[in-house]
Symmetry: C2
Subunit: 404 residues, 2 copies
């Protein structure tokens, strides 16, 4: 039998979180629309807003196929690895799939055609590979990716016409299908000035993309700047981390005045708290108990020394399972539902907690490291100087996933 | 095709590192023996010293089966997961296997018998499970584990006789085979006073284990306190991290006066530098290049702003691959053999480096994040506030391993 550690994955919580995001966007949009109408402006109708559920990195550690089940109601899926895209198609996913970084190799083009996978185009070399491709197979839908200050992937907006001309040429040849545009904000969670400028940048070129969608909002942007989800005739948001119950950003909507028809201000927006549920719960058993006396130390480097007699439990979880080694003294856990905390340094396969106040706890007791019934992953991440995303992704292969 | 990232695993480097450890221990032992002889004391003969190569946590991220090949010359293997032990047996490993944390469930006992796996016994509940076991199958070799100040797993030395009596009773019944003893130091790399005390503690009970081996030295202890490898009639060291080319501890041998015949002092010990080789090399391609101007920022949170025009490359590696998100500005990499460094925040699937000084670098250039031809994993870990062990173990499943 495996070591007594497991990550419980809740596809129901995934579905719930997706529904929360969709509902929140709809509510915000209605409020904006109402506000615009009250100002006697015409809003013909709300544009279609769809969501790519982002499932890159093995669905943030949750397992790609589990995510396929949890996000069955998403309008599309966004990911990085072409093999994951094929896996989703092979397991029955028929709705759109977007490769967020696009393809990397000439050999990938046939796969995109065969499996009907939409690709980001962020660099001229991808365009050149498409130009060398044969037109056999179905046309490939593409999203031209713009660099709006992240300076990671994408073209500058002044290159839009130039690249689009080439893409339209490929469209005529039957290599390329629909042509949309996308961007990724560097600071959607923090810096309003940045978002205004980045949004103006991409909204200034969106009119060129008459037949394809626009996609600019990640989790933070879709929740904080809902006005952006009203742009263009077809708008796709790309929620990621919040689908997994982690919300490390402020969820207060912000008024944004950018190029476009949006005139709503923050004052008109009123939302109930969003209730995201944890989708991953990391649980390990107590495998040993040590009764120590004042002056005894615990763990590598003897970083913790007891100042009184204590009962210390050893848990079958360490940094090689993905728990952060940097989690300091005091990082919260729960033991059979009772709060407790880490003592001593987290080692590779084990860690220690203080159970002096829980006499009923002993070998076999269940300890929740994060998730349902325990501390939130963001709380643990915060203590450890990390972020929830990173800890989910770093969950080790050796930790069995139990899907509920 | 997969994203352009891979971890190159060198089984030859693994074999080399194991040979280095074995050679180093032999050299130190000879020097100690010579010293003892020169002091006209009698040293009948050097005891047998064997090495359990530690391959827990998927062989520190290298792949269990790759480790099986790399450490073919080890005398035994040490690990945590019983499934890994079975995997090794199924793939032809016939020499000893030690489960360092022992077994966890009653169901495991049959597997230990069937596959001839040695188990640590660190808690009374394991003893009780053995007492309830049937005597069918071969006797199970055990190592009684002592807690010498780590306060993690193990019995206190005053419990030795008590537990040993129970184990010998099981031996008579044919449930238990050889009975050895082991311990794990909390501070082998740092604190000499601690090691003296811990060593005295376990050396004080070793005489009780007449038919089984003694195992107390991990990587750090076997290199720093070679005298300890001379104790008992059969001594097993348990090198771990240094087998993978990471040496985050001081390798200067230290004189240790503990109970026993060891009288050598540091002054007689003279060793050439140990040359460990990296066993894991993480390589990713440049997938985009951005020419940025003074005042432009890079990455999430805009944590880096250029003060002059720069050429910034995006690499297909992020924290979801196991590269530490905490790696700051200046963390070293090499690009086609030329040193360069990280700029901006490491994101989930990508990171940025400055290639202003490498005009030949472009899309497709190979970037070594750590390992052969690049910075050492310890150097990167140090910058990122982590340790090499952790980064190896956290290498993500999605990174293809290429074995050389």
């Amino acid at each position: 039998m495996p070591r007594p550690i497991q990550a419980v994955i809740s596809t129901q919580a995934m579905a719930h979180n997706l529904a929360q995001v969709q509902e929140r966007i709809r509510t915000l949009q209605s409020q904006i629309a109402a506000s615009v109408a009250s100002q006697e402006k015409t809003l013909s109708c709300l544009p279609s807003v769809k969501a790519f559920a982002v499932i890159k990195a093995n669905a943030y550690g949750h397992g790609t196929l589990n995510a396929l089940k949890g996000f069955a109601q998403a309008d599309g899926l966004g990911m990085i690895d072409i093999a994951d895209a094929v896996l989703c198609r092979d397991n029955g996913w028929t709705k759109p799939i977007l490769l967020l970084e696009g393809f990397f190799h000439a050999e990938d083009i046939e796969v995109l055609q065969h499996y009907h996978i939409t690709t980001a185009i962020h660099s001229r070399y991808q365009l050149e590979l498409l130009q060398q491709a044969k037109s056999v197979g179905k046309p490939i839908d593409v999203m031209m990716k713009f660099n709006t200050g992240m300076n990671r992937l994408g073209f500058k907006s002044y290159q839009a016409l130039d690249i689009l001309t080439d893409l339209k040429h490929l469209q005529v040849q039957g290599i390329v299908g629909r042509i949309g545009c996308m961007s990724h904000f560097a600071n959607a969670d923090l810096d309003q000035d940045y978002v205004v400028q980045a949004a103006e940048d991409i909204l200034g070129v969106k009119h060129l993309f008459t037949d394809g969608p626009l996609s600019i909002c990640n989790s933070a942007a879709s929740v904080r700047y809902p006005q952006l989800t009203l742009q263009h005739h077809e708008n796709w948001v790309r929620p990621g981390i919040c689908l997994y119950g982690s919300v490390p950003f402020d969820t207060t909507p912000i008024a944004l005045t950018a190029e476009g028809n949006i005139t709503a201000t923050a004052s008109v927006i009123d939302l109930p708290d969003v209730q995201f549920q944890p989708t991953m719960t990391l649980i390990a058993d107590i495998i040993a108990v040590q009764d120590i006396k004042a002056g005894d130390s615990v763990g590598y480097g003897s970083t913790f020394t007891a100042d009184k007699p204590m009962r210390v439990a050893v848990i079958a979880c360490g940094y090689a399972d993905g728990y952060p080694r940097s989690a300091p003294f005091g990082t919260p856990v729960t033991v059979d539902g009772v709060p407790a905390h880490v003592v001593g340094r987290v080692s590779m396969d084990m860690m220690n907690i203080d159970i002096s106040h829980i006499p009923s706890a002993g070998i076999g007791s269940k300890v929740v490291l994060w998730g349902k019934g325990g501390p939130s992953i963001d709380e643990v991440a915060d203590k450890a100087g990390r972020i929830g995303y990173e800890m989910m992704c770093n969950l080790a292969r050796r930790v069995p996933l139990k899907v509920v």
